[in-house]
Amino acid sequence: MHRNLARPVGIAIIVGLIGVLLTLPLFPSPSTTYFMGLILQVMLFVYLAQAWNLAGGLAGLFSLGHSAYFGIGAYAYAVGVAKYGLPPLACFAIGLFLSAVLAVITGLISTRLSGMFFAMVTLGLNEILLNLASQLTWLTKGDAGTYLRKQFTISFTTAYWVFFGLCIAAFVLMALIRHSKLGTLCVAIKENEAFSRAIGVNTGLWKIVILLISAAMVSIGGGFFAMYQGIVAPTMVFSFSISIKMLIVTMIGGMGTVFGPLAGAVLIVFDELVRAWLGSSFGGVSLVAYGTILVICVLFLPKGIMERLRPASREASS
């Protein structure tokens, strides 16, 4: 009788959450702004994590270098408008094109390497881009960063709405893909690549397709991130910690699940609050706390929060 209870509860939570996110900006005050700022951070990483989840969670392409697409998107926009005076849309197009090139290369590599080796290659590709961004100073202005004048930036509130929209789009896209032929193929590839190939699935092609979608999402996110920050420096975007955050959020939430990245966002909130609470008085304590909570999560929820919620609802129904 309670078999489907989890579903309505889940829907209610989502609707409530969207409601809160929509109404929060209607009550402007400094503390609302703080919460919106916190939510913006969360939305940014939930969006990126969802993009990572498409390739990493669904298709098992365990990338440690997704920040490469983020950086390409951010730099395409920043360098495009600031150095070459291109219209923003053209910059996004360039970012998407370059990310697509990298995604195809990475996809081709994934047909030859898997697991740890694939992860290491993606890490290496990101490292190459990080170094190029800081060494090709004629293009990027190196570590001083590419500065964006006010007309090329968006305000905090605009950024809030942009990432709100991107998040909704990402979840819809994930839900659609998850239940489409592409999603089924990806899961098949993840579960048993050799078998998928044996029954005639062109695994290389589908891996590239899912990577392209994932890369495009991250690249767009990078472009808007640049707009919002108003400056792009190599370590802000091509950073290992950004790649890691994408996968941490996904894994804590539940790999390959539609709402995993949303559940995993708890961790970002926790990180933010710990730093706020302890950061200034004891330098290292926030790191220790964050690390501890990560280890605890892994020990008790090795397959993610979503995995825990599901059996619980099944227990309730029996």
């Binding site: 030859r112 390497l113 290491m120 290992f240 964050y290 990560l294």
Partner: protein
Amino acid sequence: MTPQIIITLLLNGLFTGAIYGLFASGLTFQLGSLSIANFGYGSWLILAMYTTFFALKIWNVPLAFVVLVLPVIYFAAGYVIRNRLLVGGSLNVQILSTIGIAMIVDGLIILFYSPAPRTLGIIEPLIEIAPGIRIGAIRLTVFILAAVLLVLFQLFLQRSHLGKVIRAVVLEKETAMLMGINSERIIGIAFGISFVLIAISGIMLIHLFPVTTSAGSSYQLMSFLIATIAGLGNMRGAFYAGLAIGVLNAFLLYFAASFVTVVIFSLFVVVLILRSGRTAGMRHI
């Protein structure tokens, strides 16, 4: 460019490369033989460096004491981490928990040692091996020590009883268990031993390089690079790969200092792709 310069660059590359080889070998052992992807490797390495610095400079402990005690503590830490936190975890679980542990280690370093960069500040005496060709004495020592250590480690794995048991567990965990070997305990011990390698590398590194709180990530990346090029688990390969990277590094620094990392990492990607057929399941120890 004179022959002296070429030889100087070559030797320097070899010696610096030996250090790379040494600190990468522990990771290689973990990755290949124990199938543990340790993302906290760099953090543990700099913890050893900071601790050695404090022991020698602040607490005035003799080096011999550090060399005896630190590896023992590291062994215990490695054993506990493996058998309490990493038991039976998938790649994902390992990555997350080792990152978590790395954060804790980094945080503790900042808390107890402060984020100030530290150095033993030793000016390396030079040895003139041929007219116009001088090499650093510490580097030479480290080179020899690293080579000896890795050979000893190989011998230990090949000849000693414990070494044989470790290899048996690595090759056939289930069979080893059927033979009455407590596999989990053995893997814990092996992981502890790899931590001993980290401790020793750290003690050596601080004699040559300054340590900062951000140094861990570059050591980590370099270790991953060397370990994957060599083939996971191939410790002898890691030493040679370290040497090769050291030499390449030296010549690149001379000719195109700006693009050392770009070239080395591009090469890394190409090498990995080219030998992809041979990397899977590679386990020689």
